[in-house]
């Protein structure tokens, strides 16, 4: 082999190959095929994005007169406790929920790929929450947290639970984590099941022969072998939870007070509250955060395209 310092990357079939630029004519119909998607994207994302960033440097209230004011909105947003708290709440919530969802989903996936009865029926039942609308299930849980949990808490003599946790600014976020996890676990679970089924059985047979304990098999074999799936689930989950909106609207409406207001709720309130440009600045900051996460995602998943 040649003694190059750079390690040659094995070409994978899924990564696009750079083809030489040819001089052939492109059939016009291909432009017709491509046009609708690109036009729709431009109209619905690119133009609104540019408009939004542009107006974040103005004092617009959404209609009527406006003028340039530079970075005033950004400076104000940085020192605005309402915006800071919604950022802190959303990131804290996303962080906790990702951990809760992945730990539970991984445990369930281990169970659902072991030798159990009613395997397919159980899997099918665990996936049901994925097809239920977030805001509707949030209303169902709101009822449970307001009526059922307090009466159970009273019966068991647990004073903390006798009042609804949705009315407690320090505890309401727990309810949001529970309902979000309830809905997010199925998708995560399916990915873990796919990952666990992809591990060849011989690996475990060899481990059995070598006398590895179940715990060693889990930590030394299973976890390293499905590490790629863990990365996918953590990134996808975190990205979804940062957009938290539906479930919070249904459970607490951002309350009590503003204790559980997410970034999305804060931004969308700008449409009602007349601080349009101000919330566009919030949205632009959120966009920068999303880009940073996207870059991280690309860095981590590059070369993992084989799974």
């Amino acid at each position: 082999m040649s003694a190059t310092t750079a390690t040659p990357k094995a070409p994978t079939t899924t990564t696009p190959r750079r083809a030489p630029r040819s001089s052939r004519k492109v059939e016009p119909i291909y432009y017709l095929f491509l046009f609708p998607a690109v036009a729709l994207f431009t109209f619905a994302i690119t133009i609104p994005g540019i408009i939004g960033i542009f107006f974040s440097f103005t004092d617009s209230i959404g209609i009527g007169e406006w003028k340039f004011i530079g970075f005033v909105n950004y400076v104000a947003a940085f020192s605005d406790p309402a915006i800071l708290s919604s950022f802190l709440f959303t990131f804290g919530f996303a962080f906790v929920t990702v951990i809760v969802v992945n730990v539970i989903a991984f445990g369930l996936a281990l169970g659902l790929t072991s030798r159990i009865r009613f395997k397919m029926g159980l899997r099918a039942m665990f996936v049901i929450p994925m097809v239920v609308s977030g805001i509707i299930i949030a209303y169902v849980f709101q009822f449970l947290f307001q009526n059922t949990v307090p009466s159970l808490g009273g019966a068991l003599g647990i004073s903390t639970l006798e009042t609804s946790i949705l009315a407690n600014p320090d505890l309401a976020w727990i309810a949001i984590v529970i309902v979000t996890a309830w809905q997010a676990i199925p998708g995560t679970l399916l990915i873990y099941i796919a990952g666990l089924l992809a591990v060849p059985g011989e690996v475990y047979e060899a481990a059995d022969i070598d006398g590895a304990s179940p715990w060693q098999q889990l930590t030394r074999l299973t976890l390293p072998l499905v590490a790629g799936y863990v990365v996918i689930n953590v990134i996808l989950g975190f990205k979804n939870f940062l957009n938290a909106y539906d479930i919070i609207v249904g459970l607490t409406g951002g309350g009590p007070g503003t204790a559980t207001r997410s970034i999305a709720m804060t931004i969308i309130s700008g449409f009602m509250g007349g601080d349009y440009a101000y919330q566009m600045a919030t949205a632009t900051m959120f966009f920068v955060v999303a880009i940073i996460i996207a870059v991280l995602q690309l860095m981590v998943t590059r070369g993992r395209s084989s799974i």
């Binding site: 609708p36 994302i45 097809v131 059985g201 475990y204 940062l242 957009n243």
Partner: protein, 298 residues
């Protein structure tokens, strides 16, 4: 004879190694794990049971807010009231229209664009379009929500049509990613014979490529269905006329009117949830495979 009997158990056909450990000898069912999983499943089924049970109560019984008691007597009055109060047929029709429109538009537009991109990968414009379309995956909806409200209002798209356009948009990048990955694995020879027989590109796409894409179209369609049917955030701020709202948004709009008529509220929730759950139970095999396929690729 005993030796034969003993051999009989030894020559049982080995279970095919389905990617999991197949221990030599008898497959023992792990009952403790089975039981634990059944206990876990109650957390999934309990909220659904409460929904059904509350919906079937009379107003007099539902008002006490006891979620765990069984309905006595069973009454469908909640459904009748919810049907009239939220104007369910209209809401259902609009949800159906938005969902069907989004599913069809997503599959067709994404398949069109993916085919054009893959067959002209050597042209810079098509390559760049691919990455341009992929960019949407990284843009959270709230970031573009406010300008979109203004734009849709200006172009008379602050209605279910606008929701179809935007929902299709948000499903597009992910769907293009799935379709292009799939199209790369299709040998070009399949089309070449059709072209030699004189088929145009248009005919080739519909006769050869689109049928081949069917399994991926199912995956793309499932994701588009789940998003369009269940989403609350986007329709709630795009559709300006409350009478034209989708089912999830109607539950929000009628919260105050439900007040403590829990049986009406839960009947309304159940009617909004049921179609998706029934569709899932009928097609659960495909859904589970499709979601896994899509999520791992994406």
């Amino acid at each position: 004879m005993t030796t034969i009997a003993a051999q009989g158990s030894a020559t049982t056909p080995p279970t095919p190694p389905r990617g999991r450990r197949s221990k030599v000898g008898l497959e023992r069912i792990n009952w403790p794990v089975t039981i634990i999983l059944f206990l876990c499943v109650t957390t999934v089924l309990l909220p659904l049971y409460v929904t059904v049970s509350m919906a079937l109560k009379t107003s007099n019984q539902a008002v006490d807010g006891n979620a765990l008691s069984l309905p006595s007597p069973v009454s469908v009055q909640g459904f009748v009231d919810a049907w009239q109060l939220t104007n369910f047929p209209v809401g259902f029709g609009i949800s159906l229209f938005v969902t069907a429109g989004t599913v069809v538009a997503t599959i067709v537009l994404a398949a069109f664009a993916s085919y054009a991109i893959i067959r002209n990968w050597d042209r810079r414009m098509f390559r760049w379009s691919f990455f341009y379309l992929l960019g949407a995956m990284f843009i959270p909806f709230p970031v573009v929500a406010l300008p979109q409200i203004q734009l849709t209002g200006r172009f008379a798209l602050d209605n279910p049509f606008g929701v179809i356009l935007l929902a299709t948009m948000f499903q597009l990048s992910f769907s293009v990613l799935l379709f292009t990955a799939f199209l790369r694995s299709i040998p070009i020879e399949l089309e070449e014979s059709a072209r030699i027989d004189g088929a145009s590109t248009w005919q080739t796409f519909w006769r050869i490529i689109f049928p081949l894409l069917a399994p991926m179209s199912a995956t793309v369609g499932i994701f588009a269905f789940l998003y369009a049917w269940n989403d609350f955030m986007m329709p709630s701020i795009i559709i300006s006329d409350p009478d034209l709202q989708t089912l999830p948004v109607r539950q929000y709009l009628f919260q105050t009117q439900f007040s403590s008529n829990y049986n009406v509220a839960f009947a309304s929730y159940l009617m909004a949830m049921a179609p998706a759950i029934i569709a899932y139970l009928l097609a659960q095999r495909w859904v589970m495979e499709g979601v896994t396929q899509g999520a791992v690729k994406g």
